[in-house]
């Protein structure tokens, strides 16, 4: 009886790879694989978080000055966008598991659009920094790091860098390098995620997923949530910490 069921399972589903015994084993392997991969991602970002922590504590005034110059409205908006996209992704996984194709495709498309919105806003932010000559080092040849510094007593200009007591321009430059390294690496992960979701949409339209075979949606969902969580850490660390020095 049970051996019959196994045989049916083995040859039953077209998406079962030859080296797995059944769909359950295949799903379990895929999910665990993604979790392990996410562990490596944490360690990868961890190196940059360590550098951030070290220099934030070494140069608090400079980092606070540089942080205050970031656009908190755009940052907060993007945070909202990502949280919403995590929700639509979770709904996409759920719809796939219960076999509802229409909401599944809708949720995937929404997630993709929200991800692209995030990247668009990020591009606007990067361009603002470029305008204010805040791209560090020789990252863009011919456009060195040369922000205009706000003089005391002058009217406030949002394009000028306001230095708190004890802050220096080279240390602000280091903040901006860490900012670009971390958000840039995060954005790269978003781009990869958007590409993966595009694949999911194509496969969903072809009707490849069903309640028995949904692990690609689930696994890419895990990845997407991870990338969101990284941002949840980046936003307060880069945008919020130290604002009280400036705004009381």
């Amino acid at each position: 009886m049970s051996s019959h069921a196994t045989a049916q399972e083995v040859h039953g589903h077209p998406s079962l790879q030859h080296h797995f015994e059944n769909m359950e084993q295949q799903r379990e392997a895929g999910t665990l694989g993604m979790w392990v991969f996410l562990v490596t991602e944490i360690m990868f970002f961890g190196g940059m978080f360590l550098a951030y922590t070290l220099y934030r504590s070494t140069y608090p005034a400079s980092f606070a000055s540089a942080s205050n110059h970031l656009d908190i409205t755009l940052g907060a908006f993007n945070t909202g966008v990502l949280i919403l996209s995590s929700f639509t992704m979770a709904m996409a996984v759920y719809s796939t598991q219960v076999g509802q194709r229409r909401p599944q495709i809708l949720c995937l498309v929404l997630t993709l659009l929200l991800g692209l919105t995030f990247l668009g806003v990020k591009a606007v932010e990067y361009y603002d920094k470029y305008e204010d000559h805040l791209i560090p080092g020789r990252l863009i040849p011919g456009n060195p790091f040369k922000p205009e510094v706000q003089e005391e007593g002058q009217p406030k200009d949002p394009h000028k860098l306001h230095l708190l007591p004890g802050a220096t321009v080279p240390q602000v430059e280091m903040f901006y390098w860490i900012y670009f390294a971390m958000t840039g690496m995060h954005a790269l992960h978003m781009v990869i995620g958007a590409g993966l979701i595009t694949f999911l949409i194509i496969f969903s339209l072809k009707g490849r997923f069903d309640p028995e075979y949904h692990s690609p949606v689930e696994v890419i969902g895990l990845y997407w949530h991870f990338v969101d969580i990284v941002w949840i850490f980046l936003f307060p660390l880069l945008y919020l910490l130290g604002r009280h020095f400036e705004h009381g």
Binding site: H19, A29, L32, P136, E173
Partner: protein, 554 residues
């Protein structure tokens, strides 16, 4: 007696993983873990010989106290490239990517690794990293030492740091993918009845190694990436001129690179556990202790990196803690050595080639480990730091440990891999030559280092010449010893005696299928009802097919 020894089971003309398909495409696009293992075997052997070539140049230069063969700048590149090739492109992938890839699915009764495509991808990533690194070597080389210390590497070096770094960065992802694949495979692909504690110890040690792969490698990846940006775009966190801290680089570098030492030696320990149990035909003494000591080494390995920074201006208190933890890591290592020794006690040992390597490993690893304790002691390290004592110490671990284990494992599983026996007499002979050559190379370096000979110089005071002459002589013997297996392994693929399914007469799962195995490893998924290393009591063992003198005595 001769007749019994040459008694051979005729090999039926069966389809196996080697002859299942022919043509270059069937190899380059294979998803079979056994074929990928062979692809790795070929590529790491290639890199081993490049690394060996550099080693030869180092030893020839150091034959005389003057810098007469190489200029100082060339010498800097030679030792750097020796280190980079040997560590990143030979030692780290050596056992995991070849023997691990080949054996883990077979040992746990699976048809393949969990992600066969990722497995193939990891080989291509390895190749891509290798090609870029070789490009860097040919374009002009790199002279920073394999450690890439900043700010020399980011600011002052005029060599191909970024290209080399890129090669290592890319290569790292092949390690990560291999580790990921092993962890998932061991968790989800075990055959019915193959519980965690029935797994061969080789699987445990590779599981521990994989943990280091996935936790450590990403850190070196981001570190090298940041270093490359710092060098190219002058944006940085390591160069003091940019407000950075060079010690941060050292911390990040050694956070990976110290555990990487355990990436190299843990798989060898796994091989040695197999060899000791199987060639003394006795269940391993303290299976649980040996298994968990692998995990303990992986965990402790992440907590000791600071002992590379004793003379770096690191806080003395941090130094004391790192010193203590470095001593602590000796405990799980010693557990292994004692358990192996206890396994040998009152067992029936056969001195086949793999066993010679295993016994060599125990001795050399012990010397390497004990001298590590000298270096972990704060005050002694101040004297010994950056001397040949350090060089000798880590070669005892990496060559005496990792390489001996690798060669032992390769001999042991060669019948399974190739379906042919290697020539036993030549095997034993070369194992002895390698052992003698190795010790002659590196024992004198302990003395020279203790007396104050610094590493990484192409010229040295004449009083050290005697040690260097001995060392170069030893290296020649070692190199000769290495050539013998390289020749007879290739020879045996065509002319070796056909191997039986179970030439060593052992209980492990990998020996319960044909040699070489079919593509899916087993005809039917095995159901495991026995413990690891479960040997029948000697008097009940049936002698089938192969004459075993140690059984004759009983």
């Amino acid at each position: 007696m001769k007749a019994i020894e040459s008694f051979e089971v005729p090999v039926p003309p069966k389809v196996n993983y080697i002859n299942a398909q022919y043509g270059l495409k069937s190899w380059l696009l294979t998803k079979d873990h056994k074929r990928i293992a062979l692809l790795y075997l070929g590529s790491i052997t290639f890199f081993f010989f490049i690394g060996g070539l550099y080693a030869m140049m180092i030893r020839l230069e150091l034959l005389t106290p003057q810098g007469d063969l190489l200029q100082s700048t060339t010498y800097n590149k030679v030792f750097t490239q020796h280190g980079i090739i040997m560590i990143f492109f030979f030692l780290i992938p050596s056992i995991p990517a070849t023997l691990g890839n080949f054996l883990i699915p077979m040992m746990i009764g699976a048809k393949d690794l969990a992600f066969p495509r990722i497995n193939l991808l990891s080989w291509y990533i390895y190749l891509a990293g290798g090609v870029i690194t070789i490009y860097a070597l040919l374009a002009g080389g790199v002279d920073t030492g394999w450690t890439f210390y900043t700010p020399f590497s980011t600011t002052f070096s005029n060599s191909y740091v970024v290209a080399t770094g890129l090669g290592i960065f890319i290569n790292g992802f092949s390690s990560i993918l291999t580790g990921l694949n092993f962890i998932v495979t061991i968790h989800t692909m075990r055959a019915p009845g193959m519980t965690w504690f029935r797994m061969p110890l080789f699987c445990w040690s590779l599981y521990a190694t994989s943990l280091i792969f996935i936790l450590g490698t990403p850190v070196i990846a981001i570190t090298i990436l940041l270093l490359a940006f710092e060098r190219v775009a002058r944006v940085g966190i390591f160069d003091p001129a940019l407000g950075g801290d060079p010690i941060l680089f050292q911390h990040l570098f050694w956070f990976y690179s110290h555990p990487a030492v355990y990436i190299m030696v843990l798989p060898s320990m796994g091989v040695v556990s197999e060899l000791i149990a199987n060639f003394s035909r006795k269940n391993i003494f303290g299976y649980g202790f040996v298994a968990f000591s692998s995990l303990a080494i992986a965990v402790f390995g992440f907590l000791v990196w600071g002992h590379h920074l004793f003379v770096s201006s690191q806080s003395v208190y941090a130094g004391m803690i790192f010193s203590f933890l470095s001593f602590a890591v000796a405990i799980p290592s010693a557990i292994k050595v004692f358990n192996w020794t206890a396994t040998l006690y009152k067992s029936s040992i056969s001195y086949d080639t793999p066993m010679l390597y295993a016994l060599g490993f125990i001795g050399l690893f012990t010397v390497g480990g004990m001298t590590g304790l000298f270096l972990a002691s704060l005050a002694v390290d101040v004297h010994l730091s950056d001397t040949y004592f350090v060089v000798a110490h880590f070669h005892y671990i990496m060559v005496g440990g990792a390489l001996m284990g690798y060669l032992g494992g390769l001999h042991y599983w060669w019948p399974k891999i190739s379906g042919r026996m290697y020539p036993e007499g030549w095997g034993r002979f070369s194992a002895l030559v390698i052992f003698v050559g190795f010790n002659l190379t590196f024992l004198p370096q302990f003395v020279a280092g203790y007396l104050g000979m610094p590493r990484r110089y192409h010229a040295y005071p004449p009083e050290f010449q005697v040690f260097n002459v001995l060392s170069t002589a030893g290296a020649s013997i070692l190199g000769f010893g290495m050539l013998i297996p390289a020749i007879y392994f290739v020879w045996s693929m065509r002319y070796g005696k056909h191997a039986e399914a179970n030439p060593w007469n052992l209980p492990g799962l990998e020996w319960r299928t044909a040699s070489p195995p079919p593509t899916e490893n087993f005809e039917v998924t095995p159901i495991v009802t026995w413990e690891a290393y479960e040997f029948a009591p000697p008097e009940e063992t049936e002698v089938v097919g192969k004459f075993r003198p140690e059984l004759e005595r009983i």
